[in-house]
Every structure is written in C-alpha cells, then in structure tokens.
C-alpha cells in the first residue's frame, strides 16, 4: 500500500509540474481540458499494459502480438454487427475470439519456443502479429469504418470537457481489472500458483504447480483483456488494423511503468503517460512529436529502476 501511495505521489507530482510549467499563462480551464483528454488516452495505454503484465508475470512472455489480437477481436465484432447480429453478442464474440487467439498461441506455439530466452520469445510473437495483420488486411479492404458503442452518445462534463461514458468505462474497467486481478492473485489458489510461477518458474514446477493449466488461464485472461482493449481502441482511436496492431508499442511503455510486475503501477503510469502526452500539445516545440512521451518516460523508468545495479554475474534475465 505504501509503495502504491509513493508511486501515485511521484506520477501526480510529475504531471502537476508539467501542467503548471507548460500551461503557464494559459487559462486553467484549457489546461484542465488537456489533462482530462490525456487521462482518456492514458487509460487506453494502461488497459493494453495490464494484459501484457498479467501474461508476462505468469508465463514470462512479453506478447508483441497483443495489439494484433485485440485488433482481430474488434474487426470480428464490427463484422458481426454489420451482418446484423445483435451488438452485445457481437462484442462478446469479439472478446472471446481474441481470447481464443491468445490461448491458441499460448498452447500451440509458445511452448515450442520455451527454450528460447525472453527477448527472443517476445520478438517471435511479432511473427504472430504479422500473420493476424496480414489476414485482417486481406479480409477487410481498406474502407473507412467506424466502431460504435451506445455509451458513445451519453456524456458528462469534467473540467469543461465532455467525456463520453465509453471513456469513463475504460478508466473504470481498467481500475476494476486491477483491483479484481490483484485480489484474485492474493486470495485464490490459481492466483497463488500464478505468483509462484512469476517468482521462480522451475521451483514452482518442482513443488507441483500445474504449469500448463496456470499458463493457459493466464493466456486466456490476457486475451480477454486484449480483446476488450481492442474494442476500445476500435471505438476511441480508429478502426484500422495496422493502427491498432502497432498500438502495442505505447502499451509496452505503460507495462514498463509498472516494471512488468505491478498492476496498480501500470494503471497509474499509463494514465500519467497519457496526461503528459496531452500536455505537450501546449508546447510549441514538442507538440508535433508529443507521442514520444510514453517512450521517453518508459526509458527513464527502466533506467531509474535499474540504478545502482551492477551486472556482476551472468544469470537468468
């Protein structure tokens, strides 16, 4: 709890300093609008980052195909709606499809490269992303499309900005996911097993943790998270396969903000990244390159997190 408060304070102060520094001399309402707008974007990064961290903790795989898996789900959901299937059914089908894709990869392909080191496993998952992207681009021609949810129409005013219920939903569901998954990791047997795997895979296997079952659950759960993130990307970013596929890179930045470990930190870090990116719009110098914000922040986090460490002995990474 203490660590959580510290990171909350750290990110909060960073955002505040930037908001004051960049927004100096501008009406407070304008700055407020950029902060709210940034929270909306940041929650998307965080949502993608959560799935990545859940999977990485349990399986040691950083899934670069997360974006492509989510993209496949939202394209399916869009297609089903077009075919006249009731919308809620289509959304659920899209999320389940994403989960099935992730589980399929996790069961059939990932184990075959278990002997590879983590970097190579991560890089190889790009192959799966290319397959999904290629298939999606082949099946759906390049037409402008829009994916909509009924919650897009309702909105509330926050700091002078209209915020749709969909955007609130993203923040709430990300928050709920963090709480639920954290509690489940603490309280349930499966959670215990996942934590055991995250701590020491070989030891966990030795004491009888059913590795395959736990990993499969992790793949399926991460697939649901990717699928939901995909629907939200399709609704709030844009419904273009290539765009959603490569959104995985800023999502990795959010995952790094949580050191690939801590779910609450992913959420807080992701939100802060979105706010900082949005605030950079106020700077004439940085506004055309403001999407660099998550990358620069993530690199700084990685360096800070490893400060004072010395690589004396070669070991497992």
């Amino acid at each position: 709890m203490r660590a959580l408060l510290i990171s909350l304070a750290l990110w909060g102060v960073t955002c505040l300093v930037l908001a004051v520094g960049l927004g100096w001399g501008k009406p407070a309402q304008v700055v407020g609008m950029f902060v709210v707008s940034g929270l909306a974007v940041g929650s998307l990064y965080a949502l993608g980052g959560l799935g990545l961290v859940v999977l990485f903790r349990a399986t040691g795989v950083l899934n670069l195909a997360a974006g492509a898996i989510g993209m496949s789900g939202v394209m399916i959901a869009w297609q089903l709606v077009e075919w006249g299937i009731p919308a809620p059914l289509s959304w659920i089908a899209g999320i389940l499809f994403s989960s099935a894709l992730a589980t399929g990869y996790g069961r059939s392909i990932a184990p075959r490269m278990a002997w590879r080191e983590p970097v190579v496993k991560a890089v190889a998952s790009l192959g799966f992303a290319l397959i999904l992207l290629g298939l999606a681009s082949f099946l759906w021609s390049d037409d402008p499309r829009k994916f909509e949810l009924p919650t897009d129409k309702a909105a509330v005013m926050i700091l002078g900005l209209r915020v749709t219920v969909t955007r609130l939903l993203v923040v709430l569901i990300a928050l709920a996911a963090v709480v639920l998954i954290s509690v489940a990791l603490q309280r349930t047997r499966l959670g215990l097993q996942m934590r055991a795997l995250a701590n020491d895979r070989r030891l966990a296997a030795l004491i009888g943790v059913p590795v395959v079952r736990v990993e499969t659950m992790a793949w399926a759960l991460s697939g649901v998270l990717f699928g939901f993130a995909g629907l939200m990307f399709g609704d709030l970013v844009r419904l273009q396969p290539a765009v959603i596929t490569f959104l995985v890179v800023p999502c990795i930045a959010a995952a790094i903000a949580g050191r690939l470990q801590s779910l609450p930190d992913v959420l807080i870090g992701g939100l802060a990244m979105g706010v900082i990116e949005s605030l950079l719009t106020l700077s004439d110098m940085f506004k055309s390159i403001r999407p660099v914000a998550p990358f620069v922040i993530a690199a700084l986090v990685l360096i800070a997190m490893n400060r004072g460490r010395r690589l004396t002995f070669a070991g497992e990474d």
């Binding site: 992207l133 390159i289 990358f295 690589l311």
Partner: protein, 321 residues
C-alpha cells in the same frame, strides 16, 4: 582450417565482382537495399552473439545515419564518403549512449530500452521527415527534392551496387578484426562473467560501449548508403516495428556464423521482392512472413546459417572459446 577462410573470400569476390553485372535494374536496387540492411544486421548480430545484448533500435540507428548523411549532403559540398562517415559516426555515438543503460541491465529490460528509443525515433522521423534540401535545421522543403550526390565510383545504379557491396565487405572485415583482437577477447570474457572480466582487468564499461558504438556505426553506414541509393529517405522505412522485425530475422538468420547477417538481409529484402515478383498479394506475403518467422524461431536453434553450416559440417568460430 584453410578452406574455411576461402569461403568468405570467394563469396566476397563473387558478390562484388559478378553480381552487379548480371542482374537487371530491379534486382540491382533490391541487392543494394539488401547490402545496406546486411550491414545493420551484422551489427545487431555480433552484439547478440558476442555479448548477448539485444538492440531493437538498429533500423532507427540506420535512420539516424541516413538523416545525418542527407543533411550534410544538402548543407555542404563535401564528397559522399565524408558525409557517409560522419553519418555513421553520429549513429555510432548514439549507439554508445544506448550502452549506458546496458551497464546496468541486460536481456529483456535492455531490449525494451532500445525498443522505446526506436519508438521515439519513429515519432520524430514521421514528424520531421528526412532532409531533402530545404532550409532550416531540419532541412525539409515542401516543394522540391534536391539531388543526393553519389560517390564518384558509383554514379550508375550498377556501379553503386558494387560500391555498396565493397563497403559491406569492409564492414564485415571490421567485425572480424574486432573478433580476433583485444575487444573480441574482452567481449568473450564479459559474456561469461562480468566479475571475471573485471578481475582480469578488462574495462567492462569501455568494451560494452565499444560494442554498441561499432554496431551503431555499421547501422549508420547502412542508412547512409540507402539514402544515396534512393536519393531520399522516408519515415516509413524506420518504424519501431521494422527494428523489431530486423532483430527477429537476425535470430532466424543465425548469429554464430558470419554469413548469418547475409541470410537475414536476404530474408528482409530479397524475399519480399521475390514474393512481389511472383504476384503474391502483399497482405498474404505478410502472413507467410510471420509464419516463416515463427517456424524458424521454433526449429532452428542456430538459425538458417546454423543449418547451412551443419550441411557442410562447419563449426562456429567461437566454439573454441
């Protein structure tokens, strides 16, 4: 031992001497690109094989080399070689900056730092594009593209391919030179154990930085050569996903053998060219590519180069170490 040394020499002579003369205009262009990326792949490959360090920013560093080369070409009247060298050195310096995190971390975390750098460069390249002779620091005009000078020895496309291949051979020799001298021994020790390296009086900081610098230098060379091949560069070439893809293909190509980098570059540039020529749909080519990537990572521990070597019963040079 002697026949082992013959193979690279034979390949180099065949490539530089014969290849440019016998292929058509399209393939001259394809092989020029292939050579540029082979240099970058060789850089990433030797870092991975010698030090176990992964750079997912290699294509972004090519972009940096290309950017500086283009900028100097349009700003000064210096000959191509000078611009190329400064461009490569700039990429090298940036590579060395990347080495700083490498002193503290390795494996996935180090790779992620480089991926974040690649992501940042993608954004910057997209926003500012590459110099084309315009005014100002960024050198980008909206209405024209000034000519990019080529080397005197490589004015035509065919001669330029020969020129690139010669630079490529020099790049490979540079790596080989390092492997056989003090840096190579230091790297081998560092890979085993940094404690042992420290105890033996090896300057770990210097040699790690050196490796990143060399890898960046090769990437920068590749980027500069690519710039003069096309006359301009486009941000689409240097996306973060391309850097990741290049590294994936480095693993698939195989890093324990010198020709692994050539295999990598062939997969990266020649195979798409072939698929395109055969009329394979670009989207389906992507599917094929992804599947082949997964297959190779699963089945070939030493990459395709390892499988080729197994055919001829060669052993990797550092099996002795």
């Amino acid at each position: 031992m002697r026949h082992r040394a013959l193979a690279p020499i034979l390949v180099a002579v065949l490539l530089v001497g014969l290849l440019p003369g016998i292929v058509g205009g399209q393939w001259v262009k394809i092989f020029t690109s292939t050579t540029c990326f082979a240099l970058a792949a060789a850089g990433a490959g030797f870092m991975y094989a010698r030090l176990g360090m992964v750079s997912l920013a290699q294509v972004a560093l090519m972009g940096v080399g290309g950017w500086v080369t283009l900028r100097l070409n349009h700003a000064t009247g210096l000959p191509f070689e000078a611009n190329l060298l400064v461009g490569a050195l700039a990429a090298s310096v940036l590579g060395m900056v990347l080495a700083l995190p490498a002193l503290r971390m390795r494996g996935l975390y180090l790779a992620l730092v480089t991926l974040m750098v690649a992501g940042a460069f993608e954004v910057i390249f997209t926003a500012y594009q590459f110099p084309n002779g315009g005014a100002g620091f960024w050198g980008v005009g909206t209405s024209f593209s000034a000519p990019m000078r080529r080397p005197l020895l490589g004015e035509s496309d065919t001669a330029y391919l020969r020129y690139c291949l010669a630079v490529g051979v020099l790049g490979f020799l540079l790596i080989e030179l390092h492997r056989r001298t003090a840096p190579g021994r230091a790297w081998a020790l560092i890979r085993r154990s940094e404690a042992a390296a420290l105890a033996s009086g090896v300057n770990v900081t210097l040699y790690k930085t050196w490796a990143f610098g060399l890898s960046g230098f090769l990437a920068g060379l590749g980027g500069g050569l690519l710039a003069a091949s096309l006359g301009l560069l486009d941000a689409a070439t240097f996306k973060a996903s391309e850097s990741v893809l290049l590294f994936a293909l480095v693993v698939v190509g195989g890093t324990r053998f010198w020709f692994g980098a050539i295999v990598t570059a062939i997969l990266y540039r020649v195979v798409p060219g072939l698929l395109n020529n055969w009329g394979v749909d670009a989207d389906l080519a992507l599917v094929f590519f992804g599947a082949a990537l997964l297959h190779a990572v699963i089945t070939a521990p030493d990459g395709i180069a390892g499988q080729i070597a197994a055919l001829f019963a060669w052993r990797a040079p550092h099996d002795r170490a």
